[in-house]
Symmetry: none
Subunit: 229 residues, 4 copies
């Protein structure tokens, strides 16, 4: 479309591959894997049915490419911004918000995973597995640093912490898509981050102080009242 004429052959080919992936992403994200046909994707890509097969071996392969692309973009954009943030809390908060917004926008893309991974065993060594590992490594590094600096709870095993972090968002994203109340996202992120971070000492101290005040006040009232007797 808006391609300069000076593209090399190689660039052209790459552009076409991207075009197909984008078309596929859009349709997969609307209809899901099963109800999407290769013909639809070809049409949306502006190429012939057979052309899709020059770039992708079959439908599963194309779906895999879409997910790969999704993870790559997700990983790149996340890492880039994380590097610019200094505190652990900022980083975790950004990562949560970034993950949620992306996953909610294209949640059907990730839902395709079961459809193209026949068995759990083969997933272990697959490229998709590596991709996911690579993505969550961003969180892992933040968590590791945070634990060392005391900002993040060190009571949790790293992999458990990670599963809680991403699992909560996967489930939460569905809940929020159903309710479609945008303000919930902020609440959710705040609470999730709060759960992951070490509880600040002062909060605890404040709470204790308040209760002490209340206890003292009550004691005083009782003393006064009983004094009459």
């Amino acid at each position: 479309m808006s391609m300069p004429k000076t593209k090399t052959r190689r660039e052209k080919v790459e552009h076409r591959e991207e075009t197909i992936i984008e078309a596929a992403r859009e349709i997969f994200n609307h209809r899901g894997y099963r109800k999407t046909t290769m013909a639809e994707i070809a049409k949306q890509s502006g190429v012939a049915d057979g052309t899709v097969y020059l770039y992708f071996k079959n439908k599963e392969d194309l779906a895999r490419a879409v997910i790969t692309d999704f993870y790559r973009r997700l990983t790149d954009s996340a890492q880039q911004r994380v590097d610019q943030l200094s505190t652990t809390k900022e980083r975790v908060t950004f990562l949560a918000r970034h993950h949620l917004s992306n996953v909610m926008a294209e949640f059907k893309i990730l839902e395709m995973l079961p459809a193209i991974n026949v068995n759990m065993e083969s997933y272990g060594g697959s490229a998709l597995f590596d991709l996911n590992k690579n993505y969550v490594a961003i969180f892992d590094r933040i968590a590791k640093d945070g634990m060392q600096s005391g900002a993040i709870k060190s009571s949790l095993t790293p992999w458990v912490l990670r599963d809680i972090f991403y699992g909560s968002m996967e489930y939460g994203s569905r809940t929020m898509l159903l309710k479609s109340r945008p303000e919930d996202i902020d609440d959710f992120v705040d609470q999730l981050v709060g759960m992951v971070m070490s509880s600040p000492k002062s909060a605890k101290a404040n709470l204790d102080a308040t209760i002490a005040d209340r206890l003292e006040l009550a004691a005083t009232r009782i003393e006064k009242a009983t004094a009459k007797l």
Copy 2:
């Protein structure tokens, strides 16, 4: 499955719907929705192809019945045991372990959901949605009680707490299936429960707060009583 071989024909017929659901569950759980054929299910059920359609309108309907059945068994067995447990911690721990073991045993059953729910909108009012709501209500009740008694963190909004609880397990179950190290399940449950429960210190604070409540109430009563004097 769990049917004795000595069933008479009549008994078989009465359980035919169950038989088909069981057969379908087994095959769906091995091959996934897409790669399972109705012919396979019929064969495994020991009935003719057409017979399946006497009980279920079509493949989607059958898959829905399998999931419905799964949720019902999950809800019933969970509720039954929860009622026998007294402390919040015991209940939450049991629920987590129960959920994990069931979901891990039949995780492909739940993975069918995307394949049979075309769009999020229609899911909202569907029977499956109600089923899920009904199931998570078990946790909701435990959480509500726990928050009142101070056993569970009251700093989290109920729906967020629930999403964290179930989301963590959904994600964690996949991780653990990949690693297939059974001892991880105990670790995972312990840490998840620990995260949901109030920490000992804040439990102390909650307890203090409760005492403050009681003292304040007593003070009020005494004040009222002595005022008359």
Copy 3:
């Protein structure tokens, strides 16, 4: 339903057969042969699916019975009334009107004929063929009488006259069902009858011809008689 309790076994059976035929007629006449299912017919009849097969060998046989019944009622009611009418014109007019109204009310019943008669050859000797022959015989008799008396054109071969008479109405009934203008029926009948009846002038010629016949016959007899002398 409204059956007296004193029905004999035989009567009961006959009643059930009628009930099924009536139900079948109604549904065939709405959906046509192909889109009607035996289950629908059984339901409408108030009997079980299998029961229909106690009375009729199969779907074709049932359809045949419906058509047979239709023809019998058509033939009986037509013959009965025709016998009460005296002039040829009255008879032909009645027959046309009677045929049209019945065929238009249940035209899909006759449309089933192609579906159940695979080949023309076998139709020739079939019971349905005889039934039709029996029915059109009513017209044939009227036509024969009418030709002798000069009321009906004798320029036409009997079978051609019959085909014109019934064919016109078959085609015309469809046209009129499409237009659904009731007054057209009267017009149509009048014109068809007019076409079949001798015009006044040719009636005269016919009469003359008849007299010629009689005279020629007389001449022959006289010649024979006088030849002996």
Copy 4:
């Protein structure tokens, strides 16, 4: 059918739609709509099962195409020849003969109409209805001209005349197929045409003359015979 055997592959492809229609016509015309399967048609066409569905949405659509094609050929060939004939009688005679021969050769094609037209209402505005309208318009034009010139009876409403003309042939064609006596067709056409045309004055005169002759002859014979007495 009428395709030379030396067609190249490319040419075959270009005529694939026609090829399928021809194959379908042949099988529909032998087995009828219901007993014809798409697989048979595909085989007879020399294409794969799925290919038929590239050209026709489903079985009904294909049957409709066959009928459409039939009507188009019928209309074209009729109109072409009619234009070359000068007198009304010649035209009507040709049209009758042409209609009869075509309908008799492929009468099962037209018999499919009830099977694919569920209800009369929807037929009104359908393409098939237009097609039929277009075809009978040929007769309508001839009839209109003939009425003006006095060649055709003007005592009949045009649509009634048309229904009589085509209806007679539809019915008559079945009768004649049963009897399979080719000479009947000529008789039938002559009588049908005679019925539609105005009766020539001379015919009436001739008839009268003939009867007069007969009466005179008979009288003479009787006189001779009685003279002996």
